[in-house]
Symmetry: C2
Subunit: 351 residues, 2 copies
């Protein structure tokens, strides 16, 4: 296969972890006979510094014309604590999601047996946890009309959803459930919000098309509780943008493997793959960041092209490294810590 991949390294540790994912992906390409052309482009604070905006048109061109986007991380401390700064890295993120139509954010949370003890939760609560959130990513209160009235004394944000937006996301949810244990949980606040009632009635109407899928409906506050109590009772969860923002982050810390979690943002034309961790500015350039989440994101990318064996080879390499203790300091637990680059080299050599 010939693959054209946009490479958005971003800020902080982004470039370092991206380098390792490229290295491991190239090893895959060589082994399985694919040809990958990497197309680097600027994003985040790096793009603001260079051209004054976080998601420049030139970057959009590269992404639009690529078969997929591999993304590192964005964010820089100089933009923190000033949410009203005129240009911020996050604006680039939102602009990119909308412009590329990345409507479904796929966020798995699973456990690695060797990491279970890193979880804040007791072992018996998380063992066997393997859930996936599908978060709607281009609608809702993030993109509705927002502004001020009354000389700035009143602020408003409008949350809007159309039936078509809900159907598009829910369809992915039903399809994903069919490939897993056929359980789907629709997370909403239908006892209060009209948009949630639209979500619920739309999903209810789709149930007949997927008779094998067992659908449950839970309020977002109840899910926030049960995620901590019994995360392993969930399988596939679908939800709107803001609830997804909160719940996927909550879910990410329960497994103890947060530093290893990949994600995908799926669009109709192009999809994007990125680790869920941030740009970790303090670690920039120190060769200590864990590249595994980015490598696993690249694995999701291969699988999304239908290259399942390739994806599995990458996952197997990561599992092998974890077992062999070839890990960065965040997982070293007093043992030997390898550098970012050394872990990447080891993974590439073990493909």
């Amino acid at each position: 296969m010939k693959l054209n991949i946009a490479l958005l390294a971003g800020d902080g540790i982004g470039p370092e972890v991206i380098d390792q994912a490229v290295k491991v992906s190239d090893a895959i390409a060589q082994k399985f006979g694919h040809e990958i052309t990497w197309k680097p482009a600027l994003t985040g604070a790096a793009a603001i510094d260079a051209v004054g905006e976080p998601y420049p048109d030139s970057t959009h061109e590269v992404c639009k014309n690529a078969d997929a986007v591999l993304f590192g991380a964005i964010g820089h401390p100089k933009y923190d604590n000033d949410p009203s700064a005129p240009v911020r890295p996050e604006q680039g993120l939102l602009k990119m999601r909308k412009a590329l139509g990345l409507f479904a954010n796929v966020r798995p949370t699973f456990t690695f047996p060797s990491l279970l003890d890193k979880s804040p939760l007791k072992r018996e609560r998380i063992e066997g946890t393997d859930l996936v959130f599908l978060r709607e990513l281009t609608g809702g209160i993030y993109f509705g009309e927002k502004g001020r009235r009354d000389n700035g004394d009143t602020a408003f944000d409008n949350c809007v959803y159309t039936r078509a937006e809900v159907q598009r996301l829910a369809k992915k949810g039903f399809e994903l459930a069919m490939t897993r244990s056929k359980k789907l949980c629709c997370v909403d606040k239908a006892n209060v919000l009209e948009t949630s009632r639209l979500w619920r009635e739309t999903v209810q109407a789709m149930e007949k098309d997927y008779p094998e899928v067992e659908v449950s409906y839970e309020f977002v506050d109840a899910v926030a509780m049960r995620l901590v109590q019994w995360p392993n009772s969930y399988d596939v969860l679908i939800t709107e943008n803001l609830f997804g923002d909160i719940l996927t982050d909550e879910a990410s810390v329960i497994s103890g493997s947060m530093g290893l979690m990949p994600s995908a943002s799926m669009g109709a034309e192009v999809s994007l793959f990125e680790p869920i961790h941030g740009s970790y500015p303090q670690a920039t350039g120190l060769n200590i960041a864990n590249p595994m989440a980015t490598v696993l994101s690249a694995a999701m990318m291969f699988e999304n092209f239908g290259l399942m064996e390739e994806g599995k080879a990458m996952r197997d390499a990561v599992n092998k490294a974890l077992e062999a203790g070839v890990v960065t300091e965040d997982l070293a637990d007093g043992g030997k810590a390898y550098g970012t680059k050394e872990v990447g080299d080891w993974l590439a050599a073990n493909i």
Copy 2:
């Protein structure tokens, strides 16, 4: 003191736990020389069944003219899974909050040493947890304009906040922080929402009036994570209505003492006190529900009247009962389980 207390027992186990709180409060009144007049009124499914609406005008009259409201729980399974039913118990709750102006929901999360092992979190993560959420309760997306367009295919919910609403809630937060460890965390999503930016700038402007309070600003998704990782790193948190709904429920399960957590909803004129647990329909009438959260809610009520010794006497009785193993089956752990009424009797006798 002469106290006029509206008594809204509600549904499910509400009446049983309320009975115990009344009994213990009466023991307090006798010991400290107060006179309490209880004014029962209908609410929830019980009110729908009786008069067709969940918060009838007659109940509002009773509440408005009372010095405080003691509330049990509402909700009945026959209204579940049908969020669009024409009349629902929750509507009564929202109507009551708005009509009584209960703008600040106070939700403490603390630990009881004897219950630490009930937490899904590891002991070292929760030991010493003692935080309080102040959730704004009468504004935001709960009460903004909501509806449909395009023949029902588009739904919208408007989130609106005024500076005055934020100030009123934040003032309570600063004041509460002054009585505790002087740390205040403002939870928002100021990187995305205009209402959150109003929250943040309003709280920032108030900092100078409370120079001793150390204020931090955190995004709601980050708080959803840190609550699970290091709940004991928080003290007072203030937030808007919907974020508060999600985060207070998340916080409630971390301590392992959820069944014991009280809450208050403060208004300008009258305030309401209630356990955070629900109506637990399966347990109705079985004399097994734990009345302690309701008793501790009554303790908050006394303290809100400035009757600190009275509140402390109630808390002490609960602690003593926990130590003596005078507990309902949820806390019995294989040991002897007392009935709802028997726990109430024991607490009253130990005032």
